[in-house]
């Protein structure tokens, strides 16, 4: 039997923590419908005006698209360079491998601000103008480690024998990659893409230092929050939470469908 100890006691603790995790989010959502300039009690009635206000805020809407644009670029970059790095790290031995792995992992533990300062110095040395692309390059470098660790973990669990069998049966390296390795790592790669997208969409430390004239959504929210905190912020936040719930559901559904497929299926 796997159950250990009192089920009721364990879940009482568990649900208490989950309540702690949800209380602020629910507070946020409730007050986005409150007909008052301030986020405080008493509740003054139901309104949708904070949501309609959002639709008129061009700066905010533009920053949402900027964020999506940056996040898509980051996903593309981290896949394009992260996948080869993961394959090299898991399938091959080479001198300096331990150091390569360490450098690749460094952005996970470094404060975004430090990564941002280093890249800012680099851009200044090259006389690069700050823009959405400089943000993309910065976040891409920071988030590549997500793709690398996820894909490398998946490769580690995948047996090499399938790839070797394909080779023995006369498949070229290209065919092995397209028909065996890639389909096998697909769920992990897809998961990594989702994680990279969501972190990029939310990223603020690196972006803060590398942003040009166009802002991403967190930067716009940040500037609104520092000036005044209207319930408009509650409304955006609620929408962002709903959007991320949808994204998670679609993502997990897709990756579950993906991981259920046996390796030999495509062809």
């Amino acid at each position: 039997m796997r159950e250990l100890g009192s089920r009721r006691k364990a879940w009482t603790l568990g649900w208490t923590v989950l309540a702690f995790l949800y209380a602020p989010l629910i507070v946020m959502a409730v007050f986005s419908f409150n007909d008052s300039e301030f986020t405080s009690l008493p509740f003054r009635g139901f309104t949708l005006r904070w949501y309609t206000m959002l639709l008129d805020d061009d700066r905010l809407l533009q920053s949402v698209w900027n964020s999506v644009y940056v996040a898509l670029g980051v996903v593309a970059l981290s896949t394009l360079f992260g996948l080869p790095a993961a394959i090299a790290l898991d399938r091959y031995e080479f001198p300096g491998k331990a150091w390569f792995a360490r450098i690749v992992l460094l952005p996970i533990v470094l404060p975004g601000v430090i990564t941002g300062v280093a890249l800012l110095l680099f851009y200044m040395a090259l006389h690069l103008k700050l823009s959405l692309y400089t943000i993309m390059l910065g976040q891409g470098t920071g988030l590549m480690c997500v793709t690398i660790t996820e894909v490398a973990a998946r490769l580690q669990r995948m047996k090499k024998s399938t790839e070797e069998a394909a080779r023995t049966l006369g498949a070229t390296e290209w065919e092995v990659l397209i028909k065996v390795t890639l389909p096998g790592v697909m769920p992990a790669l897809f998961g990594a893409m989702l994680i990279a997208f969501s972190i990029s969409f939310d990223e603020i430390a690196v972006t803060y230092l590398l942003t040009g004239r166009q802002n991403t959504l967190p930067m716009t929210l940040w500037s609104i929050l520092r000036r005044q905190a209207t319930p408009e912020v509650n409304a955006v936040s609620t929408l962002v939470i709903v959007a991320s719930i949808l994204l998670i559901c679609v993502g997990t559904w897709l990756s579950r469908r993906g991981s259920g497929e046996p390796v030999e299926a495509p062809g």
């Binding site: 602020p24 080869p84 450098i103 470098t141 939310d202």
Partner: protein
Amino acid sequence: MSAATQAPWHERRQLLVWLIPPLLWFTVFMVIPYCLLFYYSLGSTEYMTFKPGFSLANLIRVFRTEPYLSVLLKSARIGALTALGATVLGYPVAFCLAFHTRTARAKFLIYLLVIVPWWAAYLVKAYAWKTILGTNGLLNALLLQLHLIHEPLTLFLYNQFSVVLTLIYIFTPFAILSIYAQLERIPTSIVEASSNLGASTFETLTRIIIPLSLPGVIAGAIITFALATGDFIAPALLGGSNAIMISNVVINLLGVAFDWPMAASIGIVVIGVGTALISVAHYLEHRSQARF
């Protein structure tokens, strides 16, 4: 395996195809910027412009001049408290998920319940705590309504407490996921063997489950520590002058004081600590990892 001995040259060419693009990327966007950071840390400023040089004065200043070292230590303390709090809060949920969830469907739903707050926008979460803890906040309103206090209290917000609470809130889902991944790997047979041999629930928990879950706990705690220590949103939004953290200092040095060499020096020190942290994490994880 056989390919390695039969055609090493062939294998090496493939390796280069995979290795060269990411190697180039990390050289250009990480190694070179970090070298630049080091170069800047050796220089100085004159009339707000950078002057190249070769002195370790700035790096020494990080350790010798106030407030740098004390802010670094305070940030590390806040990071450690966050890691501790997130682990303590996260463990019960991870435990329920691994040992007290019966169907795969229930497991998936609880898992989603944990992921949603983790993915919800960072700023939103910090701001939510501001609306709860503030002078006109919900906590004060609730206490006033219950007649427990007669005027709003100011002690909830703009101090280290509010920063640590918010950071714990933000990183608890991450701790849950990290601990759960490790708990899920503990075979049922080991738990059964322990109780069959007469161990109480408490003994099984403290002598079997918790020791076996340590790699997940350590991995989660180290990343939480690192991210929380380097945070600058929570202190800027919810911390008063007393809760300034190292990232805020770096930003002020850049944006207000234009002291690039000093900011770069702090960066170099933090990179050194970060590299050491990865090595320690690697060592601890491998030492505590049991093979089943």
